[in-house]
Each structure stands twice: as C-alpha cells, then as structure tokens.
Amino acid sequence: MAGKTDYHVDLAQALVLKAPAAADYLVVAPLVIGFLFGAICLMSRKNTDRQPYIAIAGLVLMLAADLGLFWHVWQNGTVVMTMGRWLPPFGITFAADMLGATFALTAGIVGLAGGVYALRDVGRTGRRYGFYPFLLLMMAGVTAAFLTGDIFNLYVWFEVLLISSFGLLILGSEREQLDGATKYAFLNLIATTLFLLAVAYLYGTFGTLNMADISRKAAKMRETGPLFTIAVLFLFAFGMKAAAFPVNFWLPASYHTPRIVVSALFAGLLTKVGVYALLRVFLMLFPVERDMLAGTIAIIAGATMVLGAMGALAQNDIRRMLGYLVISGIGMMLAGLALGSETGLTGAVFYAVHSMVVMTALYFLAGIVGRRMNGFSLATAGGLYSQAPWLAGIALVLLLSVSGLPPFSGLWAKVYLVKASLDVGAWWLAFSILLTGLLTTIAVGRTFAFSFWRERQADDGEGSEAPAGTSGFVTASLVALTALTVAAGLYPEPLIQVSDRIASELLAPAGYVDTVFPPQGPQQTEVQSQQ
C-alpha cells in the first residue's frame, strides 16, 4: 500500500501535530500507574509478603500524579489530551478540569489510606485472592472516570471499577457476602446497562460521543432531538449508581457485608462517581434539561437525605447505620445539583470532597470499634472510652463532622447549601437539610453514647479485657483522614476556593469546550462543515 500513496494528506486536519507538553501527560499518569502496579500485583499474587509494598508504592505514585495534575490544572486551567493524537472528536479525549482533578485527588488520598489500612485488615488469604490488584484496578477505574472526556469511555470506566468492586466485595465468600454481592452486582449492572442505553440514544442524536462536542452541539439539537428523554435516562442510571432514593436499596443490602476496608473504600469512592457523572452530564451536556428537571431532582434530593438519616436511626449494626449515612450524604450533593446556582454547586462539591474523606474514615473507625467490641451491634457495645480515650476523641470529631456540626468540614458545605436553597426560596429543601442534620446528630450521638460512654456490657460473651491492640497502620490511616476533616473545618478557605472555581467552571462549560476544541480559523471551520 505504501507504494501507491500518490495522494496528499494534510495531517493537520486529522492529527494533533504539536507534541503535548510533558506536564500534560499527568492527565493519563494516574490510570497508567494504577494499571501498571495492578498488573505487577497480579503477577506477584502468590508472594503475599511483597505484594502490599508494591501496591502501596503504586498508590503513593498515583496520589503524587493526582497532586501534580491538580496543581497543573489549578495553575493552567483544563488540561486535554487526545488518544492517538487524533483530533477530537475522533480520538478519545481525556480532559481534566478542576472538577475531575479535585475528585481524582480526593480519590487518591482515600485510596492510599485504604491501602495502608488494609496492611493489617487484609490477611494472607485476602491478598492471595487478589485484594491489592482489585484495589489498584478499581482506583484506576475511578480516577479514569473522573478524567475522561468521552461518554462511551466513561461507560467503560464504570464497568472497570464495577468488576473490580465485585472482586473486592466477595473477597472471603461468606454467606452474607454472597447475598449482598448478588444484589449489588445485579442492580449496579442494570444501572450501567441503562447508562449505556442513554449513550446509545445520545450517539444516535448527536453522532458523536465526545462530551465537549455534544455540549457545543446540544443547543442546535434541542429543537429536534429527544434530549429530555436522554436526560431522564441519565438521571435514572446515574441516580441508581449514586444510590439516590428510590433506587438506593442495593447499598444498605451490601455495604456492610465485605471487609471493613472494602466498605470504607466503596463508601468513599463509588457512589461519588455517580454524583460526579450527574454533575458532568447535567451541567455540561444538558443545562436546559437540568432546569426543567430541577424540581424533580430537588424532591429526590430531599427524600434521599431525610430517608437516609431515618434509615440510620433505625439500625442496630454500626456498619449498616453508616451505609444509610452514605445515602443521606448523596441527597446533600443532589440538592446542590437541583439548585444549580454557583453557591449550591460550591456546597455540593465541598460536600462531596468532605463525604469521600469522612465516610471512609468512619468505616475505618467502625472497623476498629468492631474489633475491640467483637461485633458491630449497638446492643452489646460499650466501654470503649475507658479502653481507648484517644479513639473516643477521633470518633467524636468524625461523628460531629458527618452530622455537619462545627468546627468540622461538614458544616461549611451545609452552610452553602442552606444559603443557596433560601436564595431561591426553596425553604423546604433548606428545612430538609437541617432536619437531616438533626436526625444524623441523633443517630451518631447514640452510637457514641452506646459504644463509648456506656459501661462495658456484662453479657459480652468474651469478657476478656485484652482485645487485639490497634495496629499502627490502621491508626495512621484513620488519624490522617481525621486530620483532613479537622483542617478543612478550621481553615476551609482553600477548599471553598477550589469548590467555588469548580462551580463557576461547571456553570460556564464553554471554557472546557474551548480547551478540547480550540477556536479555529476559517479554514479549519470549513473542513469541519464538510464532514
């Protein structure tokens, strides 16, 4: 074929000719590291002593890449890279804006904390069954979902993180786990299949899958295309992934069954991917449809947060209570999406970052509490304050933080959300947020009172006063995450600035679109219209 090239091809029409700056490679670095170290861990699966160190090295590098990317995006704005150098929309685009970079960075922190916690929590059997490869692949999937700029590619990353999460969920194959995993797997698979269905219609309508491309074409297609239907499908599919009421029942059925570190990572990462996808799709692709659906989303948000908190009140098992608190937090973020104002979105993003860190830390805490109490039941809990006062201190910080009380990070997000609700006169949404805060305070206050303040229960079968001491790794990861929520609570200014910038970027997607499709001269526009 090479001999017959008697035609001239202008590569500038099809390829990015300028080599990307070295720093731009940070967009793909986290997932490359994740897959690379995941593969190495898989190869050394039987070497259960060495494997954790490889994994921790991978997670540290991933966090470093996330940090670098965050700094790069903060300084220089949205960073774009297109696979195979094909000009978008033909190559798959990776685009990191502040939203993606911030979520990726938080995921990196949570992932590293989980990896360190697992050094003690996941023993030889768990390692042999592939805990660390699954963890790294899930981290790669989550991070890539935050960074991709192509909606079909987003679907693929959803599936990558889903299949890795299945592996983590059934690690151990106990009866409870198999039951929980069955429900989790079916409902999540149906959700991603519906997401794919929405993508199919999106492709049929726009003929492109690049999110920036769809964003700039949406205005023209609004008259003729079934955009509202597609938007509702996306709301349903991502709502199910995010565990929004009334499609949230897979979460309390499964999140308390696996090892505590797996629950912690799921609570910190997976539902937030659904929230991220909702923010991305509704604010960038379908802003007009979001306005039309705002009332519905607000009702969903209110119901999710209040019913989540009420579910938490009804639980005897600490882990199940935390599962309902995860759902309740999703309602808070959806409230920001429903409001759609800059203040509301700032609150939602702040809450998402806060929730990723705090929910993970709470599950870590539950793990330590459960180990010391020989179980997670509130009925038999007690005596932890006299046993470990430092743990009581950390628990108090985290429990106050999750219920949004000062001076911890949950407060500021709620201040923004309540203000945004009152700005548009949605007093009932503000009331739901405050009511949720009250119910959450009761639920977590009871947990604290029963497991820490109360005397050790006599009917505690073991009765031995010497439970296994808490290992240094476990403590370190818990303390690190707690320190983050304290820092963000006492000095919220940096995180507010970041959230504020994310909100303004989300409300003006033209900036993102212009980075993917730089404004062109007349010659290039002509080429585009010929296609």
């Binding site: 017959k4 693929v156 009866r175 039951d179 797997a185 698979l189």
Partner: protein, 125 residues
C-alpha cells in the same frame, strides 16, 4: 429495516423486563443478559442501518468514496458485548455460589445480609 429492528429491540426489552421482575434469581440473570443484547441492538440501530458498502478506503484514495456503512456502532457494540458477556459469566458463578451457600434462588428468601429478625437499636441505657 430500522422499523423491523426497532420492533425486535422492543420485544427484547419487554422480555428482559418481564424476566427481571421475577423473584427467581436465574430468571433475573437471563433478563439481564437479554437487556444487554437489547441495548446493543439499540446502539446498532442508532448508528443508522444502511445496506451500503463496507467501510473500506480504496488504495488510491485518502477518504472513502460514496456511501459506506457506519463502522463506529460495530466497535461500540463489540466493546459492550465483551463487557456484558464477562459480567454474565461472573454473575452466573456468583448466582450458583450463593445458591449453594444460601440454598434458595428466591430473592425474597435471600435475607442473609438483611435478616428479618434483626433487633431494633437499643432505646435507652
């Protein structure tokens, strides 16, 4: 052609939803498998079904000549088939294992993780 395939897709969706409404986990599994195929057919139909030449560029040209079939839906469907088949295989094993352990394939009876007689939280000290 599109009309016929659209009706077929509708039948697939109807079948899969009917099966997924069952309480028996194996029927739900079959429903999910058919749902995946229904979505694949939807992608395929959304890419416009045309009886045109395969998308091959002749040796002497830089761009295809005339109308060609759309290759992209096939790439998308291929990806989706691979993913949904691997999930089907995983779910099949998962369902079999949980049937072995729990001894029922009725989802109403699968209450290991959420037992019916779970105690209420303590109401006071």
């Amino acid at each position: 052609m599109e009309t016929a395939i659209t009706i077929l897709t509708g039948l697939f969706f109807a079948t899969s939803i009917y099966l997924m409404l069952s309480r028996h986990i194996i029927r739900i599994l079959l429903g999910v498998a058919i749902l995946g195929n229904a979505v694949n057919l939807t992608i395929f139909t959304n890419g416009r079904i045309t009886r045109e030449a395969p998308p091959i560029i002749p040796d002497h040209a830089a761009v295809p000549e005339g109308v060609i079939a759309n290759p992209l839906p096939q790439a998308l469907v291929l990806t989706a088939i691979v993913i949904s088949f691997s999930f089907f295989a995983f779910l099949l094993v998962l369902v079999f294992r949980s049937y072995q352990e729990i001894g029922t394939d009725d989802t109403d009876e699968m209450r290991e993780a959420e037992p019916r007689d779970e105690p209420a939280p303590p109401l006071g000290y």
